[in-house]
């Protein structure tokens, strides 16, 4: 049974390779190492957010407020930078992460203590967060010339051949890989999603685990908020509009079951990379923009169809693999 998950990742991995070959046949420059590095860098925010979303989905929840959380922390980070240009970037990042985590905690408390369905909670907070951006910014933009050079420069700084943005994504992937496989929190997330009743009998607090999943997703959204605003050097109310759906799509393509309990870090990362390659390839292969949405959508449907076929006998498998790892 342990072979099961790697097989799915292998399928997705080869799908990405086939996609790259197809794109290369129309535009050879796409597979140049430097361009692939650019594609990865461009996908980094999606990877980070997909990992946070994965944790939430695994616990049978969903977080639709990640993009709004990102936009709000991004706007706050930009406004702090404009107000105090001298503030060191690590401090801004810390503020962004804490702010994001706090907004995630709001979602978490509502789901945990008031037992409101997560989709309703996060639909509500999504709108509230966007509204707050409007309130704090007065609807105005924060523009590149108002931001300090350090603020916009940090994610672009090249370190060992890759921009810092890419390194943050890689670091997050490693941390999550260890967390999901080797820590009590990681295992209880699988248990809660796989079979909540069984999880209760093993002494896991289901609501609390879901709460922490939201906090983790929020913290990552906050971190991405700063990175996003710094990368595109602009902050306004609508940044990353609709991005929450892309994040969920990355998870679904990566084989994370919407019903909870099934999924892996590798899957989420590959799902994000798959979408990232599609998004970066479509502009260069001369496909009519009218077709682009249909193509992205079909990719998601095909992936879900695959997962639905392989989604038999969930729950049981996960608990067994959880036992096996411990």
């Amino acid at each position: 049974m342990m072979r099961f998950i790697p097989v799915r990742e292998a399928i997705l991995g080869s799908a990405i390779l086939i996609l790259l070959v197809l794109v290369a046949s129309r535009f050879s420059g796409f597979v140049a190492p430097s361009n692939l590095a650019n594609v990865f860098n461009d996908t980094a925010p999606l990877i980070i957010l997909a990992l946070g979303q994965m944790v939430v989905i695994l616990t049978r929840c969903i977080d639709l407020s990640v993009a709004a959380n990102l936009a709000l922390t991004g706007m706050a980070a930009a406004m702090i930078n404009v107000a105090m240009p001298g503030l060191p970037i690590p401090v801004i990042i810390a503020i962004a992460v804490l702010m994001g985590a706090f907004m995630g905690a709001i979602n978490g408390v509502l789901v945990w203590k008031l037992s409101i369905p997560p989709i309703v909670v996060t639909l509500g907070t999504m709108t509230i967060f966007r509204g707050i951006i409007f309130l704090i910014s007065d609807g105005k933009w924060v523009n590149s010339h108002e931001m300090s050079a350090a603020f916009t420069g940090f994610p672009r700084t090249v370190f060992l051949g890759l921009p810092v943005l890419s390194w943050i994504a890689i670091f997050t992937v490693i941390v999550f890989g260890i967390m999901m496989a080797r820590t009590q929190f990681g295992r209880s997330i699988f248990a809660v999603g796989g079979n909540p009743h069984a999880a209760v009998y093993t002494g896991i607090n289901v609501g609390k685990t879901q709460f922490w999943a939201f906090v983790v997703a929020g913290a990552l959204a906050g971190l991405t908020g700063y990175l996003w605003v710094a990368r595109y050097a602009v902050a306004y109310v609508d940044i990353a509009g609709g991005f929450e759906l892309e994040v969920v799509a990355a998870c679904v393509i990566g084989g994370i079951s919407i019903a909870g309990g099934i999924g892996s870090v590798g899957g989420a990362v590959l799902g994000a990379i798959f979408l990232g390659v599609v998004k970066n390839a479509l502009p260069v292969v001369n496909i009519s923009p009218f077709w682009q949405l249909a193509i992205s959508g079909s990719a998601i449907l095909i992936a879900v169809a695959f997962n639905a076929r392989s989604g038999r006998a969930k729950g049981r498998i996960i608990l067994k693999s959880a036992e096996a790892t411990q």
């Binding site: 535009f27 420059g29 796409f30 361009n35 650019n38 461009d42 007065d138 933009w141 523009n143 590149s144 010339h145 672009r156 996003w228 595109y232 050097a233 602009v234 609508d238 940044i239 990353a240 509009g241 609709g242 991005f243 998004k279 970066n280 479509l282 502009p283 260069v284 001369n286 923009p289 009218f290």
Partner: protein
């Protein structure tokens, strides 16, 4: 902020109400009603109106508006202006239809009513002043690119969504005048959906697909900023010129980095100036606003009205390194 704005309106209104007897009777009072107070764009329009007032000599400008962009707020303001019996009202409306009844009442009282920037339905005003027209904008966006390409070159369009009406009209108008710009070739049209990340990616894709690309034209404020950032990040400043329609405050960074040589948008100062001139002509010189009429507006030339009593002021105003600093704090 909001408290200050509210205070400002109250003071402006109170001043306008109680101060009335102090004005000399022969002063023509023109009210400039804006969408909301405290917006840089309208503050700049007021500057233009003051300029026109100075030029005309006997004009008093009443710059007013609600504290938030609602039609209700504007109706209140306009009612107050009717009570004060101003000579003319020039309004940039928050709602095409909601202001019609109150503006009709103003016209029944003999007050000249025109709309500018954001229009009112024909029943509620004598004429409407558009900042520019679709043919003028379509011509301007290609001219901006062509001006920096004396030997011709490849340009690409970065639009908003495939369905955005104004973008599509501007691009169509641009295609109609391509014959005037020999040597300029439009190699692609891509859509950034007015999202910073998608526009950035599309712009990056354009530079990869067309290594000889000379200019990216983005007639959308999100797209032009994102494309400029993409050009900077790709290290192609000086090779690829980003131009189109944008706001000076948002584009200041792109002009500074050199990613954009120039871009255009209407000039709010000229707009306020022209609105005041038109209101004055209609109210004092007996000019009739009728289809086909040509109404002078001082240094901005004349306004020709179409069948809906609408007219276009001028070409969009071009912003570049020489004037960006004057405008970036305005709007």
């Amino acid at each position: 902020m909001s408290v200050i704005k509210k205070l400002a309106t109250s003071v402006a209104l109170a001043g306008a109400m109680f101060g009335t007897p102090a004005f000399a009777q022969d002063d023509v009072r023109i009210a400039l009603v804006v969408k909301a107070l405290g917006i840089g764009f309208f503050e700049a329009a007021n500057e233009g109106a003051q300029e026109a007032a100075e030029e005309l000599g006997n004009v008093e400008i009443i710059y007013t508006g609600p504290t938030d962009t609602t039609a209700e707020g504007q109706i209140e303001v306009i009612n107050a202006l009717i009570a004060q019996q101003v000579d003319a009202i020039a309004v940039s409306s928050n709602d095409t239809d909601a202001l019609v009844p109150v503006l009709q009442r103003a016209m029944q009282r003999g007050i000249t009513v025109i709309s500018w920037d954001s229009g009112v339905a024909p029943d509620g005003r004598q004429l409407h002043l558009n900042p520019s027209s679709n043919p003028l904008i379509g011509n301007m966006i290609i001219k901006l690119a062509a001006d920096h390409l004396p030997d011709g070159g490849e340009v690409a369009l970065l639009s908003a969504t495939t369905t955005s009406t104004n973008q599509n009209i501007w691009m169509e108008e641009m295609n109609n005048v391509m014959g005037d710009y020999p040597g300029i070739e439009v190699v692609a049209t891509v859509y950034g959906d007015d999202l910073a990340d998608k526009s950035y990616r599309e712009a990056t894709g354009l530079m990869q697909s067309y290594p000889d690309l000379d200019a990216i034209i983005a007639p959308t404020s999100v797209g032009i900023v994102a494309a400029a950032q993409a050009v900077v990040d790709a290290g192609k400043v000086g090779e690829v010129n980003v131009t189109g329609l944008g706001l000076p405050s948002e584009m200041a960074g792109a002009i500074e980095s050199g990613a954009s040589q120039s871009f255009a948008i209407w000039n709010p100062i000229d707009l306020g100036y022209s609105a005041t001139m038109l209101a004055y002509e209609l109210s004092q010189n007996g000019v009739e606003a009728a289809p086909g009429a040509e109404i002078p507006m001082g240094r901005m030339g004349t306004l020709t009205l179409d069948e809906n009593n609408e007219g276009a002021m001028a070409d969009p105003f071009v912003y570049d390194a020489s004037n960006i600093d004057d405008f970036k704090s305005i709007f």
